[in-house]
Every structure is written in C-alpha cells, then in structure tokens.
C-alpha cells in the first residue's frame, strides 16, 4: 500500500510532530509527539485526500521497563481505499492524554477501557468511568505488575511455612 501522500502531507503540516515511522507487513506505523496529538488526529480525519474517517481501535500496551512506560496505538482506517494507519503515542505514568471523542464517537468506550485497564486518564472525556471492572476495583488489571490471580486472591497455604510431620 502506498503511504507517500500520508507521510508527505503530515510532514508538510507538522514538521516537528512526526517522531518516527516504520513499515511492517506493508502497513505504516507512525509515532506522534503528544504536544501535537489532537491537531494531527483532527488533520488525519478532516483531510479529504487522506480519508481516515474510521477509528478501528485504541490499543494500550504496558512496557514497565521503558520510559515513557505506556504506548497507545490508534488504528485508523480509510474505508474507501481499504488502508489502515497505526498511530503510536508514548504515554508516561500519570500523563493526561487529550480525548478524541470529539472526532470519533467510538473513542468514548475505547478510552474508558484504556483508562480502566491501564490507568491512563483522558482530558475532555465526557464520561470517564471504569467500564469492564467494577467501580471500587483497585489497580489496573492489564498492567504488567498486576498479578494474574488478582490482588485479593486468598492463599490457602504458604508452601514455605507448612510443616509436614
């Protein structure tokens, strides 16, 4: 797939916003600077020659050893030309990310899910609540430091202190 137009237009409009780009399986991934994030997403949506009018998904990934720790991947889709674009955004712990619910309504629940499972807060979100876990849940389940069995998992015995007579 041909992404030269996408890249040329982005470079022309945001000379400092585009941090990194790579091609894998002939699909383009680009990394955005969070300062220009909203403007760039709005541009990708508005620009008729690009036509990324469909937001497929928002994927959060936790890399505890990296700095910044999290990475969000926005999968944008051009339905007429069947072309996907992966927009990556590095996110530090506690950093607020501008919401894209103003551009795509679908982002509403996607961002709630990222907030619930990773603890990444969004600015200007209309209804930022937990969605898959319950309201009094502590922690964020998909972070790598959250134990698989849950925090309130009851250990029946401790193999170190058990005494066999």
């Amino acid at each position: 797939m041909d992404y030269t137009k996408t890249l040329d237009l982005l470079k022309a409009h945001f000379p400092q916003g585009l941090l990194h780009q790579s091609l894998y399986h002939s699909e383009l991934r680009i990394t955005f600077d969070s300062r220009f994030f909203t403007e760039m997403m709005q541009f990708l949506y508005d620009e008729p020659s690009l036509g990324y009018t469909f937001l497929t998904d928002i994927v959060g990934i936790d890399y505890p050893k990296r700095n910044p720790r999290f990475e969000l991947t926005y999968i944008l889709f051009n339905m007429n030309e069947a072309r996907r674009l992966y927009v990556k955004l590095p996110v530090a712990e506690g950093q607020y990310i501008p919401s894209v619910t103003g551009i795509w309504k679908a982002a509403n629940w996607m961002e709630r899910e990222v907030f619930d499972l990773f603890g990444i807060p969004f600015i200007n979100h209309p209804d930022l609540r937990r969605i898959l876990t319950w309201d009094s849940f502590e922690g964020h389940a998909l972070r790598k430091d959250y134990p698989l069995q849950g925090r309130d998992f009851e250990k029946r015995f401790d193999p170190d202190t058990i005494v066999i007579e």
Binding site: Y24, H25, E27, R29, T53, F54, L55, T56, D57, V59, G60, I61, D62, T73, I75, M79, A82, R84, Y86, W104, K105, A106, N108, W109, M110, E113, L117, R130, I131, L132, T133, W134, A141, L142, Y146, L148
Partner: protein, 390 residues
C-alpha cells in the same frame, strides 16, 4: 401547572432479552426513554490478561468463548493473526476448510440472532425453526471436532485434522435443505405486518453516524455502507469465492434484519463453492517450529520426537513485533492486535470486539423510543456479552 418527572428503572443484568448479562439503567418519561446508561463487565473473564500467561496454542480455546454463538470465526481471527506475526502461509486445503467452518459458524450465529430477536419481539414460532436448523450445524461440528458449540478446530498453521467424507456429506446435505428453511423464515417474518410495524423506523442510524460510532458488520451494512472485511482484505482465500455484500437503505431495525437474512444466503453460496472446489493436499503447514510431525514418525525418529516434545511443551515462538489482523465476524470486524516479544507467550493481545462498539451506541439508538422498542433494538444489533466483556 403540572411537573414532569422522570422515572429510573433498571433492566438486566438477568433480563432474558439482553442477550447475556447487559445491565441498562433507563430514564423514562412516561413510556418514552430520555436517557440510558449501559453497564457492562458482568462477564469479564480477563481473556486478554489470561492470554499473556499462556502460549500461543493455548489461547485458541479461550477465543471460542468470545462470541460463543459463532466460535470458529474467533478461532480463525486469532489463528490468522498469529500466522501473520510468525510469517506462516497456510496450505490451500486448510484455508478452504477454515472458510467452510467459519461460514457455518456465521450461519449458526445468525440463527441464534434470528430466533432470539423474534422471540424478544414476541414472534415465538421462529425460535423453534431457527434452533432446529442450528442443531444441524452443531451436529456437523460434533462430527468433525467432537464439540458442538465451541469446536476449537483451527490450529496455528492449519486445522486439527483433515475432514472426513462424513463431514463433506453432511455439509452437502445441509446445503440442500437449508434454502427451503430460509424461505420459511422469510414467510414467517418478512411480510408480517406486526413484524414490520415493530421494526420499521425504529433505531435508525445514518451511514455517517454509524461510522463515527465504529459500527461494522451487518449493523453498518444496514445503514448502507458496503464494508465487509472479506472483500476489503480478502483473507483465507475469500477472493476465490463469488459472493455479494447486502446493504440496507434506512439503517433501521428492519434493514438490519434484511441484511442478515441475505447473509444467510451468501454464506451458503460460499460454503457450496468451497465444498465443491475443495483442493487436495495437506491441512497443516510443514514448519518444524510450529506444527507437529506426523505421528508415525514420532515413534521411529528421535528428531521427530524431540520436535513434537518441544512444540507441545514450549509452543511456537513469535518475533518481537506487532500485528493487527481482522476477520469478518458474524457481528462485525473482529480484530486481534497481537504483540510478540520473542518468547512462546503473547506479550499483549487486544481483541477488537465489534459488539463492544455496537453497545456503546445503545443510548443514542434508544433515546426517544418506547420501552418495548429497546428490546427490538438490542436484538437487531445482535450483541453477545461474551465478546463485549472478554
């Protein structure tokens, strides 16, 4: 001067018409809905978290439990994502068998939708006919894999085993009898005056709005957008088959109904072509890092024994890369975003659930309608909570 007061009622999570465990908090003014808040998560099993602690093969049965009405489609989506990540090309016979399995699953999913949708609205007869025919596909699944609802028949690099002549015969039988059954569903509902009054101009969504809400699948096509992953990104040899994408005009409950009814026919068309043109050949890729050796070799050859042992105990490894792959599920674009880290376990698996986004638009769809229309709208979106909550 009279004062208007709204009443808040709770619907679900154990309401039979919510297709699982969806809870809706409805704000009513008389019988008209002014606001609705869906609460999901009652069926959250943490499949994405569990997948991070398993090897790639072990995740396959978990994916069956996403959209359990059409389980093979989830298998297909997951297996193809892993294959894309590992760079495996599946043999043609396996691809055709996968297509047969997944189109049968789509028909199964639509059967459940048809039966329960009609039952919710009050047409009780349809469910018996739909489930009678669904049973036939369950028998085919059982014949092939031993499981009726969750076959888990697909493997990374192919399918579990070659199909039997019995399987081919029962699929052919099903193709023979199903068109008549489909005619019967149409006779029960399509021109039924009550059905039309209950579904026309209810829950209308324009094409632009449906796209903004992230709709895919029959619900998007009902609004007139001809987007189908099978046509846009032909995976698993779908470009070999001749089929059409049905679209609606108004985007109401009735249009979504018509689109799904037409999809029955198109799925049947695909299955017929796949069964008639089923190529000969292996059903698994022969890759020493991914698939098991032939069982006869294991008893005689030490290297084959080691290969089998390594694959069974450790599982295949994937490179440190990220891929996204989507298939056309029975509800919409079912996508998997898979991150590998060089080990035998996924680093992160994100499931793009079509029903999740369909449900997010529920408040918009039911606002202004009557309480009884809520059920019609939920039914027309064909949501499955196993997939929403993951």
């Amino acid at each position: 001067m009279s004062e208007t007061k709204t009443m808040t009622i709770n619907m679900g999570p154990h309401h039979p018409a919510t297709h699982g465990v969806l809870r809706l908090v409805l704000e009513l003014e008389g019988e008209t809905i002014v606001n609705a808040t869906p609460h999901i998560g009652q069926l959250h099993r943490g499949i994405e978290k569990l997948a991070e602690n398993m090897n790639y093969q072990q995740v396959i049965p978990l994916t069956d439990r996403l959209d359990y009405t059409a389980a093979s489609l989830n298998n297909l989506g997951y297996c193809m994502t892993v294959e894309k990540l590992m760079g495996i090309d599946v043999p043609k016979r396996a691809r055709y068998i996968r297509v047969i399995m997944s189109e049968l699953a789509r028909i199964m999913g639509h059967h459940l939708w048809l039966g329960s949708h009609a039952l919710d609205i009050g047409a009780m007869t349809v469910v018996f006919y739909a489930f009678k025919d669904r049973e036939k596909i369950m028998n085919i699944n059982e014949e092939l894999s031993g499981y009726r609802l969750t076959p888990s028949f697909l493997r990374i690099g192919g399918v579990a085993k070659d199909v039997t002549p019995d399987f081919i015969r029962s699929v052919r039988e099903f193709i023979e009898v199903f068109p008549e059954a489909l005619e019967g569903y149409h006779r029960l509902l399509t021109d039924n005056i009550i059905w039309r009054k209950r579904t026309m101009n209810i829950g209308t969504l324009s094409a632009d709005e449906a796209m903004s809400w992230g709709f895919t699948g029959p619900s998007l096509r009902g609004s007139g957008v001809a987007y189908d992953v099978r046509k846009a990104f032909p995976y698993s040899s779908y470009d070999d088959f001749d089929f059409e994408i049905p679209v609606g005009d108004n985007g109401d409950v009735y249009d979504r109904y018509l689109v799904r009814m037409e999809e029955f026919k198109q799925s049947l068309k695909i299955i017929r072509q796949a069964v008639e043109n089923l190529p000969e050949g292996p059903v698994n890729v022969d890759n020493p890092l991914v698939t098991n050796p032939a069982i006869e070799d294991v008893t005689e050859d030490i290297s084959a024994l080691i290969r089998r042992f390594k694959i069974q105990c450790e599982g295949p490894t994937a490179p440190a890369e990220e891929v996204y792959h989507a298939v056309e599920g029975s509800k919409g674009e079912l996508g998997f975003y898979l991150v590998g880290d060089g080990t035998a376990q996924p680093y992160r698996l994100k499931i793009r659930s079509p029903c999740f986004l369909l449900t997010s638009a529920l408040p918009r769809l039911i606002r202004g309608h009557m309480l009884s229309d809520v059920i019609a709208i939920i039914g027309s979106l064909d949501i499955v909570l196993g997939e929403i909550d993951r």
